[in-house]
Structures are given as structure tokens and as C-alpha cells.
């Protein structure tokens, strides 16, 4: 296990790459969900106007 974590001496390059990738993936999920939730909240707050003449 320790040998695997050491990555043949490249641990300080390999693991930051994987951690950064995981962080970017999780961050983008969070940002997209937050953006959608905000848009939904704002759409619910506003009374409908355009298209009411249909």
C-alpha cells in the first residue's frame, strides 16, 4: 500500500493531479446545481407576463 502511494517516487506529482481533478469535478457539479437552483428560485419568484396573451 505504501509502495503504491509512493508512486515510484512520483507521488508529489501524481496525487496532486488526481486531487485537483476530483476537486474540479466536484466543484463543477456544485456550481451547476447551485446555478440551476438559483434560476428555479428566481423563476418561481417572478410572476409570469410574456406569453399570457396566448
Amino acid at each position: 500500500m505504501i509502495q503504491w502511494l509512493a508512486m515510484g517516487g512520483y507521488a508529489r506529482f501524481v496525487w496532486p493531479c488526481y486531487l485537483l481533478t476530483a476537486a474540479v469535478i466536484v466543484l463543477n457539479i456544485y456550481l451547476a446545481r447551485r446555478d440551476f437552483a438559483d434560476a428555479l428560485r428566481s423563476a418561481r419568484r417572478r410572476p409570469t407576463a410574456k406569453g399570457n396573451e396566448q
Binding site: T21, V24, S42
Partner: protein
């Protein structure tokens, strides 16, 4: 659609990760350090695919005046920017032990950096213009002009002397990788692209809601009745 894409991305990502960090053998020259490519290459591929999708959607929006297309284009930008930055940073962390430097003004690296500036410029331009229709048109033109950078990124390793290695996957004949390394790499690339699809759809849904929030059909969907 979004749950399907997310689930498939998670399955491919988990399988790819097991292969990348466990099953794939060490490289005979780069040792275990080459395992960075299993995240670096998918991030770089996503960065260019996201731009291609963004420019196509922007072009469709510009020609056929489709709001949804502009919403999709705008949704691609921030994801593309994040993954371009990730490709640059992971490439840099690979470059230090392999090339002896974090950064070199190499054609592939420089054109990828230009891609990051194109994304940032696109987002900056959109946020600088208050009128949505004008922002759509101006940013679409910028996105279309920037397409010229995509073939430059792809062929930079052929056109110029580059420190960056040549094509491994997209070349005529066999890919120059054994299946034990190629399979996890392809799985990771597929996972990243499926993930991109899920995130773009989530963002585009929000963007359409925001653009059309006063339309009656949106009111019906979100449960607000007309006054």
C-alpha cells in the same frame, strides 16, 4: 437524461480509475509518473470538445436565432475553462519530472493557454454586456473566431518542433499504447465526456429558466400561475 449521463460517467470513471491507478502497468520509461496522463488527457480532450460544442451552439444561435443554442453555448464556457486550466496544471505537474520544467512556451502548451484565454474572453464579454441578445451575438462571433485555435492545438505537435509528445490515439493505424493502458484511458475520456454532457445540460436548464422566466410555459413548469 442528466441522471443517465451522470450514472454512466460515474461507472466509466470508477472503472477507468481502477485501471489507471491499479491494473495498468508502470511505463518502461516514465515509471509510475505516466499515470498523470489518465486525468491530463481526458481533461485536455474535454477542454477542446467543450469549445467545439460551444462554438457550434453559438453558430447555430447566431444563424437561426435560437435562444436555447445561446444558452447551451454559454453553459459550456465555464466548464471548458475549468478543464482547460486543469489540463494545463496537470500537464505542468507531468512536465516537471519528465521534461525538467513546469512550463515551456511550446506550441501545444501555448495554444492550450490561448484556449483558456478564449474561454475567459467569452465569459468576460458576456458579462460585460447587459442586453442578453447583444451579448449572445457578440460572444458567438468571438466563439466562432476562436475555432481557428482548435486545429492549431491538435496539429501543433506535427506543425512545429514540440516538446509535447505526438499523437497517441488519433493517428492512422494502431494507437501506440498497449490495451492495459489504452482501456483505462478511453474509459476515463468517456467518463469525462459523459460528465460534461450532464453538467452542460444542468447549466443549460438553468440558463433557459433564467432567460425565459417570464414566459407562460416556464410559469407552468415551475408552478407559478399567471396573474
Amino acid at each position: 437524461m442528466i441522471p443517465w449521463l451522470s450514472s454512466l460517467a460515474a461507472i466509466c470513471g470508477a472503472a477507468g480509475l481502477i485501471g489507471a491507478l491499479g491494473l495498468a502497468p508502470p511505463d518502461y520509461q516514465q515509471g509510475e509518473g505516466y499515470r498523470i496522463i489518465f486525468v491530463h488527457v481526458p481533461a485536455a480532450v474535454l477542454s477542446t470538445v467543450a469549445y467545439a460544442v460551444m462554438a457550434t451552439a453559438a453558430g447555430v444561435g447566431l444563424i437561426w436565432r435560437m435562444n436555447v443554442a445561446h444558452a447551451v453555448a454559454a453553459s459550456c464556457a465555464s466548464i471548458g475553462a475549468w478543464f482547460t486550466a486543469l489540463a494545463l496544471v496537470t500537464g505542468s505537474l507531468w512536465g516537471r519530472p519528465m521534461w525538467g520544467t513546469y512550463w515551456e512556451w511550446d506550441p501545444r502548451l501555448t495554444s492550450e493557454l490561448v484556449l483558456l484565454f478564449l474561454y475567459l474572453g467569452y465569459m468576460g464579454l458576456r458579462s460585460a454586456i447587459d442586453d442578453t441578445a447583444r451579448a449572445d451575438r457578440a460572444s458567438a462571433v468571438l466563439a466562432l473566431v476562436g475555432v481557428i485555435n482548435l486545429p492549431i492545438i491538435h496539429y501543433s505537435v506535427d506543425w512545429w518542433n514540440s516538446l509535447h509528445q505526438g499523437h497517441t490515439l488519433l493517428k492512422f493505424g494502431k494507437a501506440s499504447m498497449p490495451p492495459s493502458m489504452l482501456t483505462p484511458l478511453l474509459l476515463m475520456m468517456l467518463a469525462f465526456l459523459l460528465y460534461f454532457g450532464a453538467i452542460v445540460l444542468t447549466r443549460a436548464r438553468g440558463a433557459v429558466l433564467r432567460r425565459e422566466r417570464q414566459a407562460r410555459w416556464i410559469g407552468e413548469i415551475v408552478g407559478v400561475t399567471a396573474p
